[in-house]
């Protein structure tokens, strides 16, 4: 369903034009478009919004914070700008657009307009297909979804929350023991 078109039609019916900001407001009412928590330096606002949502699906908020809560979207934005080669930046953005087009084809709506359950379903489907292709050796380049996943996982588990609270991090271990029962260590070391 195309909300924008529907609203504009409603405006015509009511005999007045609805301005763009109002449309945005009403749309937010329909499906809460989450606000960006940072000012992107690489992505457009639109791209940044989509990347944030994908990151939040890959590592969601549970009883502990998720990717969005620990600042992963801003991490991705900066890393792609500073560390990616131009060709990889282009590939990421092209992949992102393709990902969104895929959503439109599959659900008739752009990714950001999908209900949360459909967003999750689409991310999972795209992700699994990309991994299948990677494992079968049929993938040419790393697709958008796996680039996004890698950055999300790296950003999350190198964040203070991810590394030191969700996993565990010892700044100065003081000793090394090579064989310790897992039960005594408890959980994965961040590094």
């Amino acid at each position: 369903m195309d909300r924008r078109q529907a609203l504009q039609r409603a405006g015509l019916v009511l005999g007045y034009a609805i301005s763009a900001p109002v449309i945005a407001g009403i749309m937010n009412g329909c499906k809460s478009t989450p606000e960006l928590t940072y000012k992107p330096v690489f992505f457009t606002e639109e791209q940044a919004g989509l990347v944030s949502e994908v990151a939040a699906i890959i590592i969601p908020k549970t009883d502990t914070p998720g990717a969005k809560e620990v600042g992963v979207p801003a991490f991705m934005d900066q890393l792609i700008k500073q560390c990616y080669k131009k060709e990889d930046q282009d590939r990421f953005l092209a992949g992102l657009a393709e990902f969104d087009d895929g959503a439109k084809k599959a659900y008739g709506d752009s990714f950001m307009d999908l209900e949360s359950a459909k967003q999750k379903e689409y991310v999972k489907k795209t992700h699994d297909a990309a991994l299948d292709a990677a494992k079968a050796g049929t993938a040419k380049d790393k697709p958008f979804i796996l680039m996004a996943k890698e950055l999300t996982v790296v950003g999350f588990y190198t964040s203070e929350e991810g590394a030191s609270k969700i996993l565990q991090y010892a700044p100065v271990p003081g000793a090394f023991h090579g064989c310790v029962p897992m039960a005594e260590v408890g959980k994965t070391w961040a590094t």
Binding site: A163, G174, V180, V185, K187
Partner: protein, 569 residues
């Protein structure tokens, strides 16, 4: 005239040491402790022990998860060829490639750090002795020239340097890898212990704990109170604020400083040795101050070149005189030739199933070591020499989840449990000395200080490539014996230099016609110049060489001071 005499007096020392890395630090310590007023010159910036800007940064305090930016790679593209040196936490210890160019007739990976301490800050710390199998090999096989020393000459000096710096490890009683004076070895992880047992039972090959210059217990002497035991942080490449591993900053330069006999001058780029034709001696060095551009001459009775293999070779090649038109001490024509490294990145890795109830605590900056067994005893291969393996086993962390199917809550939950055990080993192969593997001075291409740059023309040859087949296949076989599954082999030689063990360009030998240095690292043709960095190596052996540079440097310094006292220099 008077002014000049005064200036010369002010700039005169008993000894000059060029370089502050592994070898320079040792030369500085030994010469100053023996009472020589010593000027120590470093081409890079000043750094003091403790000045390690990233040493205590947590993962989240490093920009971009420690990755290099594209801007970093423009400045340090060559330095990044290792894949591990140019990080936010370590890039300041490696040179700017734009400002420090060189030419490659064939690919050559030259990794450098210009600052006080040199690569002793970033070295891998693995410390092994050469044995008679190594010292005798050239003579027995008719390769290059014979080493002018044997293990009995070096063994007391290995004892001496190991005791001072502190090396942890396990004595194994092997002929091909001599025992040493070790602090307690670090612990093996479960899968490593299992592999040790399996490889011994199936192949009769020893797996020992890596011998590494870390303090696993207090030193046996009280000369380095600044050095504490290893805290198992595994951030060594950033510099250790605990002084737990050996570097010249944490150890030898502090000892030299304590004598009151050392003058350390950073930002001092040595252009050449000054040769006095009448005396037949080097009288000093000409430097350029990297900050002011000013050229200064310093004078001394004895000069130690410890500027790194290619650093010293560059200075020697650039020091031409009537007596030495082809480079200082280069009567043999061997200066710049016989480049060696260790060839590496050939090995295998796999997954060990089970042992899911086992883990570990602490981050061990060390691995297991498989001493050379090829062409040892009755083993005979279709190539000369052999290789050792370094490696280890650990459980995969969160990063393996990128390639797993889980996402969302499932991913978050599975991250709490470490992934499967992986086990991997990679060979470090001996590199034969080939005369034609060489570095030359390019007087047409100068760096920003006006110094002629170096051109590299070196490559692996048939012997190395044949050896690599064993390095790969043996690795896979031993992993298989250890029960590994999904074994993947790798063979990526990269360029020579990638081992960062460059050696051989001013080799020592018995005959001045075929070597640059004598058995005391003394230039055959100019007795008051000693070269004690990796350039003196007559063959490469297959073990990490830094400990050997230390032992030869200490021995050379001892000899130099004796000769000085006898009036022979």
């Amino acid at each position: 005239m008077n002014l000049n005499t005064e200036a010369q007096k002010e700039n005169t020392y008993d000894a000059i040491v060029v370089g502050t890395g592994i070898s320079g630090g040792w030369a500085a310590k030994e010469l100053t402790e023996k009472g020589l007023k010593t000027l120590v010159l470093e081409r890079g910036r000043m750094v003091k022990h403790g000045e390690y800007p990233t040493a205590t940064k947590a993962p989240w305090e490093l920009e971009n998860a420690d990755r290099p930016t594209q801007e970093d790679l423009v400045r340090q593209g060559v330095q990044n060829r290792t894949g591990y040196t140019v990080r936010q936490s370590s890039k300041h210890w490696f040179v700017n490639d734009i400002e420090n160019p060189y030419s490659e007739t064939k690919r050559f990976d030259w990794m450098r750090g210009y600052h006080v301490g040199g690569r002793s800050i970033t070295w891998g710390r693995q410390s092994y002795r050469l044995g008679d199998m190594d010292f005798e090999a050239n003579a027995k096989e008719g390769i290059a020239v014979d080493w002018p020393v044997r293990y009995k000459d070096m063994s007391p000096w290995y004892d001496y340097v190991e005791t001072f710096i502190g090396v942890s490890g396990q004595n194994e009683g092997l002929y091909q890898l001599p025992d040493g004076k070790y602090l307690p070895p670090m612990e093996m992880r479960c899968v490593e212990k299992d592999m040790k047992k399996a490889v011994w039972e199936k192949f009769g090959r020893v797996i020992t704990m890596g011998r590494t210059a870390h303090l696993t217990a207090p030193l046996s002497h009280d000369k380095s109170p600044q050095r504490a035991t290893c805290q198992y942080r595994d951030m060594c490449i950033r510099g250790c604020p605990f002084g737990a591993y050996f570097s010249s900053l944490s150890s030898t330069l502090i000892a030299a400083e304590a004598t009151g006999n050392m003058t350390l001058r950073a930002n001092s780029i040595v252009h050449e040795l000054i040769y006095d034709e009448a005396k037949g001696k080097a009288t000093g060095v000409r430097i350029q101050d990297a900050e002011t551009g000013e050229q200064v001459e310093y004078f001394a009775k004895v000069i130690f070149l410890c500027a790194s293999t290619f650093g010293s070779t560059q200075i020697l090649l650039n020091s031409v005189s009537k007596r030495f038109p082809n480079g200082f001490g280069n009567d043999s024509g061997e200066l710049g030739c016989n480049i060696m490294d260790h060839h590496l990145n050939a090995g295998a890795s796999g997954i060990i199933e089970g042992l899911e109830d086992q883990y570990y605590t602490g981050r061990r900056a060390n691995g297991i070591y498989i001493p050379r067994y090829r062409n040892v005893g009755s083993d005979k291969r279709d190539y000369l020499r052999g290789f050792g393996y370094q490696g280890g086993g650990s459980r995969q962390g969160w990063s393996h989840l990128v390639a797993e199917y889980s996402i969302g809550e499932e991913l978050k939950a599975s991250a709490l449990t470490p992934g499967p055990w992986t086990l991997g080993i990679g060979g470090f192969g001996e590199f034969l000395p080939y005369h034609e593997n060489r570095v030359t001075l390019n007087r047409d291409k100068k760096d920003k200080y006006g110094l002629p740059t170096l051109t590299f023309d070196a490559e692996l040859k048939e012997n190395e490539y044949k050896m690599r087949k064993d390095m790969v296949n043996d690795a896979a076989e031993m992993l298989e014996a250890a029960g590994a599954k999904n074994i993947k082999t790798s063979d990526n030689p990269g360029g020579p230099g990638l081992g960062i063990h460059e050696m051989g360009t001013a080799r020592m030998g018995k005959d001045p016609k075929t070597s640059v240095l004598n058995k005391f690292n003394q230039v055959h043709a100019c007795k008051n110049v000693f070269v004690t960095d990796g350039s003196f190596m007559t063959s490469s052996a297959c073990v990490n060489p830094s400990l050997t540079y230390m032992a030869f440097t200490a021995r050379a310094a001892d000899y130099a001071v004796q000769e000085l006292k006898k009036g022979n220099l």
